[in-house]
Symmetry: C2
Subunit: 466 residues, 2 copies
């Protein structure tokens, strides 16, 4: 029996064992289709062919799969839409990839309690739209919101544009239902506004990247609809000037509802793709927003514009025209896929203290020059979360080696400036060495202890994070 | 050698072993002084004499104590100001009580990053005052804020009055430094606005009641100063009417910055103590607030007042007079100590979904009648967190038995209505049986696994929580 036959036979045995509990149409074994589940959007991260893909439709099906995998010690790699940028969902040799895309129902939106109960495969924008219908708002808004799922967002503790004022996914998760590494189906957390009954194990699941449990249901907090926003746009000659404007906004005590940075290469890539006719008169564009109602908000917008101007903006203006502003923010959200069209992108996700944003942006430029690598920049600048995009030409292996060196230097610079290696994308595979630099060995040992305690057979997404 | 001599000799041996690292004046062995550290404010929870009390002044001293205790397998019970209401800080036989009161310095308040770094013994109100000096705000405001410490607040994930809009302690903790159960001193979490580098172990410490680590430093997020508030007061004939007003406020989509309930017995007790001249024309008073600026806030206050009136308020009015409103909120904060003056109080802390607040308040009344127990009520009503106070006369043991039965019935009713046994006080000792009812045995097993992983010798606050 050769290797391929052995794999097929293992897959068949698993499917047979699950008969009666998991219908046959949940399994994907066709190699071409399986290949589309090999990796997420972190093109540079390694992956290997899994045994098969399974797309459960219920928590019971997910549990059955884990129970059978546990008996056979087959690792399980869980994924949402595969929009991750760190390789956290990449398949490993002989694993079962569990895709949650078929568990995509919004079970309940409760207006009075301001909570929603959803399956993990619900797309972020779909939840936001459903909430809006009853006057509520689910804030976390990663740029991938039109495609990424709530389950994936929870697994990576996803951030987004409005997080500078409204916090990240963790701030909205009240409870989860999970399948544990030993195949138990349990509920963690609660539905009430407050609760301290035992350890915050629901919170522990957030950002654990599929290594501590497989999320089969999520209860999130909601907010009332966001008030209308004013948008302040500023053009800058240099990244460092724009960075100084970001620090000035923080220094002024303002709380923008978004504060995003996009540089010329990103804007040009979006224009080349979508022909949006976006001005590229500026080397760097900063987009600020405030949603404070009434005159107080008007004054905040004025002060933000003044911060931009004082930091050296070549042009700055405030707009209440939603359509015009949304076009700029659409360009921001499209920047990543637009750059990806141009070649393999290595995406950074460092987060530094706000006062160090100008210094960090300066260092990124210097690192790009030193390694002769084109680095485009988008950033959730308002909370110091920078996404330098390292661009190489397809097939240029020398450039890839240089890009990897630049990537490592950016991580070192962020750590030196009191930052973290990952603000919102997760560790996955790409940031594993960075994490080992960031965390004390004792803290890494605590991670291993918690992992062994909750997943004693090491079945859940092994080889990721640490 | 008799038992007392043996204890003294164990204490002496520990003090000797720590010579050079922990100065002698940090230890308390005088039995009278030690007795003042026997228990927190949960008078009904059991406690036993500890070996001694230690009041470290630095993280290094705290670490040294834990290291020596680990060698000797002596349990360590950590406490802040001892204002807890669940017995979580109660001493256990032969333990070392570690009081963090001498580690009370505010190390840093960073205006630009909006964070504060504090030692655990900093009193909540002191931190709030220091933040206010630079125009910032630390929101979590338990009624014990004039006495309770940030370390204790973190250990119990304390809530408070403004949490209905601004969240609980957990929502503000970015990072902690802790001594682990194996005597390591480590930093968990971060100082940046965002970060997903590894598991949220800092978050896991919040609400773990001293069972997973001894907190020696805390980094918290801050907000800009809260805007001025309008206060809406309403008088009601019955708890159920007031509960209906609470549900109506939620139904109307309002987000009060506080929504507190106080009943007549509490107001009378405060008046008897402080002679505040508070009107007790009402059986139940509801105090709502909104801090939305400008006209939008004015309209919210009007709508809240209408919710009160429609639910059956006998009187309702809106005030912008800060002094008048603060007097009412002071009465709310003083209600618990005022009741305590009258006899042993058994304090409940259930939290139910907002729509079940009227039903739950009705059941509490019925339970009081059925068990012939006086139950006074204060509540963070806006988030469904109720604090029925079960009052007995000193020395009336039959009443204590009836009160315990009523306490258990209240827990059962809260669980039946989709609630939790503890909203913000923690499990400690008083809620251990309640926790066992609330959590699935598998989830309790996960708790035990995490506890063993991080505190393998079981030294940290053993016998509490689960």
């Amino acid at each position: 029996m050769n290797a391929v036959t052995a794999l097929v036979s293992r897959a068949d045995a698993l499917i047979s064992a699950l008969r009666g509990r998991v219908p046959a149409d949940r399994f994907v074994t066709d190699p071409d289709v399986v290949a589309s589940y090999h990796h997420d959007q972190a093109e540079w991260a390694p992956f290997a062919p899994p045994l098969m893909v399974v797309r459960p439709k219920t928590a019971d099906e997910a549990q059955a799969v884990v129970q059978q995998c546990a008996l056979r010690r087959i690792p399980v790699v869980t994924r949402g839409a595969g929009t991750g940028l760190s390789g956290g969902a990449n398949a490993t040799e002989g694993s079962v990839v569990m895709s949650m895309e078929a568990m995509a129902s919004i079970k309940r939106i409760d207006r009075l309690e301001r909570i929603a109960v959803v399956e993990p495969g619900v797309v972020n924008d779909h939840l936001r739209a459903a909430c809006a219908e009853v006057g509520l708002w689910y804030p976390p808004d990663p740029a991938s919101a039109p495609w990424s799922t709530i389950g994936g967002n929870v697994a990576t503790n996803a951030g987004g544009l409005c997080c500078v004022k409204y916090g990240v996914t963790k701030d909205y998760v009240l409870g989860v239902q999970i399948v544990t590494g030993t195949g138990e189906l349990v509920r963690l957390g609660r539905e009430t506004a407050k609760g301290v009954a035992g350890y915050d194990l629901a919170g522990l699941m957030v950002g654990s990247e599929g290594t501590l449990g497989i999320i089969t249901e999520i209860t999130v907090k909601l907010r009332p609809m966001q008030p209308p926003q004013r948008t302040v746009a500023g053009y800058f000659d240099s990244l460092v000037d724009a960075g100084r404007a970001v620090a000035a906004v923080a220094e002024a005590g303002l709380t923008p509802s978004a504060l995003e940075l996009i540089d010329r290469p990103c804007l040009e890539a979006v224009d080349a793709w979508k022909n949006m006719g976006i001005s590229t008169e500026a080397n760097v564009v900063l987009l600020g927003r405030t949603d404070t109602p009434g005159e107080v908000g008007d004054r905040e917008a004025e002060r933000m514009q003044r911060c931009f101007e004082d930091a050296g903006a070549t042009w700055a203006a405030t707009s209440t025209d939603e359509a015009e502003a949304e076009a700029l923010f659409d360009a921001r959200r499209l920047a990543y896929p637009a750059m990806e069209r141009l070649g393999p992108v290595l995406t950074e996700d460092v987060c530094v203290p706000k006062r160090n944003v100008p210094e960090m942006l300066g260092r990124i430029e210097e690192i790009g020059r030193r390694h002769d690598i084109v680095i485009a920049n988008i950033a959730h600048a308002g909370d110091g979360n920078l996404h330098p995009l390292l661009i190489t030409q397809p097939g240029d292996n020398a450039a890839r080696v240089r890009a990897q060196a630049a990537f490592d230097d950016i991580i070192d610079a962020a750590l030196e400036l009191g930052g973290t290696v990952t603000g919102e994308h997760g560790v996955g595979l790409l940031k594993m060495s960075g994490l080992a630099k960031e965390l004390d060995p004792t803290v890494l040992a605590m991670h291993r202890a918690v992992k062994s305690a909750l997943d004693p057979w090491g079945l859940l997404n092994p080889g990721k994070v640490f």
